[in-house]
Amino acid sequence: MSGAELAVLALALPFAGIAAVVALGRHPNLREAATFATAVTLFLVVASLGPLVIAGERPGADLLEMFPGLTLALRVEPLGWMFAMVASGLWIVSTAYSVGYMRANGEEHQTRFYACFAAAIGAAIGIAFSGNVLTLFLFYELMTLVTYPLVTHHGTDEARRGGRTYLAFLLGTSIVFLLPAVVWTWLAAGSLDFRPGGLLAGRLEAPTAAVLLALYMFGIGKAALMPFHRWLPAAMVAPTPVSALLHAVAVVKAGVFAVLKVVVYVFGVDSLAALGGAAWLTAVAAFTVVAASFVALAADNLKRRLAYSTVSQLGYVVLAASLLTPLAVAGAALHLVTHAFGKITLFFAAGSIYTAAHKTKVSELDGIGRAMPWTMAAFAVGAVSMIGLPPLAGFVSKWFILSGAMQARDWIAVGALTASTLLNAAYFLPIVYRAFLVPAANGHGHDHAHGEAPVAMVAAQTFTAAVALAIFLFPGPAIALARSLAGG
């Protein structure tokens, strides 16, 4: 098959998966088999695009002329391919995890759950392979809508409230800021194609460019730039597999991916730098990085702490993109990958703790490492990757971002990154310490004997933790791809 056909197939597969999941709704085992089959096929299809992309090809296809002169189009480039690899690869892992989690917790509406999950991955592929801003916008909005039923899965009042916040922030920012930004770009450039060097290069004056950049950056609410970050903690009412794959990987990465696409292919790194750049964006991102870390430090609910950690880590990517140096942009692209593996491991572990021990708070985790050694070991690996220490993936991207910040002589950024590293250590290491070194508190009475989570869940988190280690040991291919992005 040609590259173009593979790209279209990759987009179509998850949606075909929805049909299979719905059709097999009455047979849970077959239904989950359909999800697995779709996920594995999707991963293989995306992977088979790799050699083409690495060789410098940009396979793509025009799907449909949506508006006169404006088509829905796919175009696979290195950054999008990396994002698609991460999303489709982790879909397989998280499906294994989901099956364990959803069955062990006796969740209802599982057909809807797996169907929406597939739709969310389809939207992620659409975003990753989007050939122009319109296509990206279409799938971006689709992703918000199909993840809403997942966020509100439990149908409780709390879920409804969380869902309202989720929609209000994500749809609100995309309608009020992002849509006008897209229309404005269309009017200014007469095109919406992503172009190496920047679609808008040389077309805008400094003050207008800054306004447009602000519309984009705050309009892409999925990047969770403060003050539009509150949807992410609100989304934590979802079942944990959703938080793990979607709100640590697919949805939030779609956000920072869109930020990178806009900075690199719409504005152009060099032309944005020439226009006086994005100093304000660096400041906002730096503030987000540090402030979210403080909130995480104070959060006792484990998933809430992880959510704010994600807000902070997404801030790294935006911060890196705003520095506009090749090293930092490469670091941003890398962080998109490394954070995915670290954070999904942490969420998997949180879900395992909930499933096996029914605990959701950090303060309840004393001594849990003895009953759940695999889970807490995986958690420790994820935590160290978040902090950005060797020998884990987080170190690689942080190294690039920090080097980029120093290259740009942006001491605000350097300060924020340093402070955040310390804060990360301050809110993650105590959990590991409690789990393994503090003896379990007796006397609360509600402790019951429990062991590890179901084996599918443990296997999933062990695998992602192992990948986080592998990326540190063999970072070459990822770095090469990321640098090709920064090079134009």
Binding site: F67, L72, G155, I175, P180, L187
Partner: protein, 495 residues
């Protein structure tokens, strides 16, 4: 065949007009239904043929009885009114099959044939308003469509349909009277009623008092018919208490035709220089539109009945159309015409779905709709899709018009209006999510029937129109391209 093709402009109006008395004579509901379907399909084919011809060869002029204009009555079909005629015919073709079960359940069988006869009259009146090139003839068709509409609304099951119809009758008559007063003034000042003949004479009179007064009377008169905020008082009750099929047909077509008439009179008769240059009518329209976007949409959120919510939503959505008209640019008119079509099919689909919900669940008040997502999963899901089009989510028809409208406001250098458009969309999110939370987050009450859908006679037309909403959103190029041609025809129509 060539002979028939030449008479399409008049056949478009005459075929449904003749069908009405025929239906009354036969007095059989099945005959009435079959005849109505045949008529609407014929009308739809004719509307498409006229649109194709207008796009290919430019405006078509047809002299009734071969009396050349301005002495005889002229019908004039261009890309703009043929486009709106396609919308009207399309919605009619979807609504009539729906009536057989829906309206029979609401009205009973024995007088059903009268209902179809009225619907044919209404269709004829609306199409006549679109194609006529004569100011007085337009008044006649306005009354034909209005009078039949009053009765159609009064047929609603709830007794309040009677007061709703009376309210509309009073305000509608004021509107029609204002229109005819305005036309009378123009006739006194110029001595002609033909649009094309009027235009140069009105232009020569500049802003003399009769012309300005005529402009004011016509704007208020037609403004009442199109439910221009704040002249929309009749609309919520009329849409709420009318039979389901009537709500769908009227919401999708009646106000849209009135908006087209206003466009035609502004650009084709009174002239842009007077309306948008010397007098600030455009700015006035824009101000009222923005008020509609926010006030009517916010009012929609708090309604206790789904049909009423949709009605207020319509007032708000009409604001988007009149906003495009108020810009008085080609891009603005394109957006307005595109939204006439896109909102027409969207609101038509939503009212049809509301009727399907009402048929199985009893009514459309919010407590009744609790858990509708579980009781009627397909209808509820389709309703959400239609709601997304009201919001303007990409991939739906509503997005295409929103895109066109944003382009038009930004091109015109009016970013504040663009901001108003996107901010008011958030109100649409709120009222659509009112339904989502009712249908999906509440348990169905004990009074609900077991899960299942309405009969296929209702579900299939409603889903077909919903499918069109999505298709017209993903592939919006035809609608936008035709709308642009229509805008060009309107703007060039003054000569």
């Amino acid at each position: 065949m060539k002979g028939v093709a030449a008479h399409l402009p008049v056949l478009l109006v005459v075929v449904p007009l003749i069908a009405a008395p025929l239906i009354v004579l036969v007095r059989r509901s099945l005959f009435a239904w079959v005849a109505s379907i045949a008529v609407t399909l014929a009308v739809l084919a004719m509307a498409f043929a006229l649109l194709a011809q207008a796009l290919a060869t430019g405006p078509i002029s047809y002299a009734i009885g071969s009396w050349p204009p301005p002495w005889g009555i002229e019908y004039r079909v261009d890309a703009a009114n043929a486009f709106v005629a396609v919308l009207v015919a399309l919605v009619a073709a979807v609504v009539i099959p729906y009536c057989r079960v829906s309206t029979a359940a609401e009205l009973g069988q024995e007088r059903l044939y009268l209902f179809y006869a009225l619907l044919m009259l209404c269709l004829s009146g609306l199409l006549g308003m679109l194609v006529t090139g004569d100011a007085f003839n337009l008044f006649v068709f306005l009354e034909i469509s209005s009078l039949s509409t009053y009765v159609l609304i009064a047929l609603g099951r709830n007794r309040r349909a009677l007061t709703a119809a009376l309210q509309y009758l009073l305000l509608g008559t004021v509107g029609a009277t204002f229109y005819v007063i305005g036309v009378g003034m123009l006739y006194v000042a110029t001595g002609t009623l033909n649009f094309a003949d009027l235009a140069p004479r009105v232009a020569a009179l500049q802003d003399t008092r009769p012309v300005v007064a005529a402009l004011a009377f016509i704007t208020v008169g037609i403004g009442l018919k199109l439910a221009l905020f704040p002249l929309h008082a009749w609309l919520p009750n009329a849409y709420t208490y009318a039979p389901s099929a009537v709500s769908a047909f009227l919401a999708a077509t009646a106000t849209k035709v009135a908006i087209y008439v206003l466009m035609r009179l502004y650009f084709g008769v009174l002239g842009t220089r007077l309306v948008f240059g010397e007098l600030p009518v455009g700015e006035l329209l824009i101000a009222l539109s923005v008020a509609a976007l926010f006030i009517a949409s916010a009012t929609a959120i708090g309604q206790h009945d789904l049909k009423r919510l949709l009605a207020y939503s319509s007032v708000g959505q009409i604001g988007y159309i009149t906003l495009g008209l108020g810009l008085a640019t080609e891009a603005g008119l394109t957006a307005a015409l595109a939204h006439i079509f896109n909102h027409g099919i969207t609101k038509g689909a939503l009212f049809l779905l509301a009727g399907a919900l009402a048929l199985r669940l009893g009514d459309t008040r919010f407590p009744t709709l609790d858990g509708a997502g579980r009781t009627m999963p397909v209808a509820a899901f389709a309703f959400v899709l239609g709601g997304l089009s009201l919001i303007g989510v990409p991939g739906t028809a509503g997005f295409a018009s929103k895109w066109a409208l944003l382009t038009a406001t930004l091109e015109a250098g009016r970013p504040a209006l663009a901001a108003a458009i996107v901010l008011s969309s958030l109100l649409a999110v709120a009222y659509v999510w009112r339904f989502v939370e009712t249908a999906y987050f509440r348990a169905p009450p004990a009074s609900h029937p077991p899960p299942g859908e309405a009969p296929a006679a209702l579900t299939v037309p409603a889903l077909a129109l919903t499918g069109l909403v999505i298709a017209a959103g993903l592939y919006a190029t035809p609608v936008l391209a035709v709308a642009r041609r229509g805008a060009q025809a309107l703007m060039g129509g003054a000569a």
